[in-house]
């Protein structure tokens, strides 16, 4: 009886931790928190094209992208793209996120994903990691901002290329990409 219950709970945990928002799937409404702890709905933040990016305060890889993220935000906001930057790390409280954003000069607000609920729904693993969502709510790109932590080694501006394609109504050539980054520090492991 106990064994059956244990196996059932294990299966239930597996189902609950399954990735919900995948490349090509539709993103339904979700809630994150502003840095005062107030819930904010995706539906109030989204635009015709929306970029969700998981970032960190302490991750050197994420920090190496701070100015690149600012530049992309500025370049594409004028084209109607909305950006949602999210910190899901359990070890980085809202107060630290606020101080960090001010110190590094982010041009955009940063939100908290308490208990990495949203990171689990996207199965986001690393910082920085981006998702491009089109007007129908479909994820059209998932992956890295570009292909190198070191700006001098960049060969492909992956996120910019994806945004250009979606803005032009075209298919994203490389719709799923990877680079090295810091693992998101979860309150529980999804894998």
């Amino acid at each position: 009886m106990f064994r059956t219950l244990t196996i059932s709970l294990g299966l239930l945990a597996g189902i609950l931790s399954a990735q919900e928002f995948k490349l090509g799937s539709q993103v339904t409404d979700f809630s994150i928190q502003d840095l005062d702890g107030k819930p904010v709905a995706f539906s109030t933040l989204r635009g015709p094209i929306t970029v969700v990016t998981f970032i960190a305060t302490q991750c050197p890889v994420s920090n190496s992208y701070n100015q690149r993220m600012n530049a992309i935000y500025q370049d594409y906001s004028s084209k109607g793209v909305k950006f949602i930057f999210v910190n899901a790390n359990r070890s980085e409280p809202a107060s630290e996120v606020r101080e960090h954003a001010k110190r590094v000069g982010f041009a955009f607000p940063v939100y908290k994903d308490a208990d990495n609920v949203l990171a689990d729904r996207f199965d986001a693993q690393v910082t920085p990691e981006s998702y491009v969502i089109d007007s129908a709510g479909i994820i059209r790109y998932h992956g890295s901002i570009d292909d190198s932590q070191n700006e001098s080694h960049i060969r492909t501006q992956r996120l910019r290329l994806a945004l250009d394609a979606v803005l032009a109504g075209k298919t994203v050539d490389q719709a799923e990409t990877k680079t090295f980054g810091c693992g998101i520090k979860r309150v529980r492991q999804s894998i």
Binding site: Q125, D147, K178, T179, G181, G183, I184
Partner: protein
């Protein structure tokens, strides 16, 4: 040796051997017969640096049973000297590797297509060269040790079973 050099390019630093997109599978093949934990780490990864001395102690504890720790630095080439310094500081044994890949995505996929590239990342292989578990993100060293011991106990059961079968056949 010539075949090995095709996969492992000439090391940039004396102690760090460069590993390209095809090198990892060769590495796994060369380590058949041992239970191996491949530790993908980087100097910029705080959790990786914290785990390294614990992994070194774990290897010292289980080495006599046929366990080996293989470290692979995912640092950019300009950080190779820092990586080497850290490995020396933590007295990491054996051959140590560093990524030298034209494309990080291909390198990540060559290790495990299911892996996102998030560090820390460790991959446990059994004696037959099959991956038995991946540890992505911060992982308690006790969890890793338990997984390694489980691989050894499974190997012992399998080895004994084979001996019994061979024994019956010979009889």
């Amino acid at each position: 040796m010539k075949i090995a050099l095709l996969f492992l390019s000439i090391p940039l630093f004396a102690a760090l051997v460069s590993l390209n997109e095809t090198g990892f599978q060769k590495l796994v093949s060369d380590h058949k017969g041992k239970v191996v934990l491949y530790d993908l780490w980087a100097t910029w990864c705080d959790s990786c640096r914290a785990e390294l001395p614990q992994l070194v102690r774990l290897e010292a504890k289980l080495r006599s049973q046929g366990f080996e720790l293989v470290t692979i630095s995912a640092d950019e080439p300009e950080a190779a000297a820092d990586a080497e310094k850290l490995l020396k500081q933590f007295a990491v044994r054996g051959v140590v590797y560093r990524k030298q890949a034209a494309d990080d995505q291909h390198f990540i996929d060559s290790i495990d297509p299911k892996w996102s590239g998030a560090l820390p990342a460790m991959f446990l292989y059994d004696k037959t060269g099959h991956q038995v578990q991946a540890f992505i993100g911060e992982t308690d060293i006790a969890v890793i040790e338990a997984a390694i011991r489980k691989v050894f106990s499974h190997s012992t059961i399998t080895d004994n079973f084979c001996c019994i079968i061979v024994g019956i056949f010979l009889y």
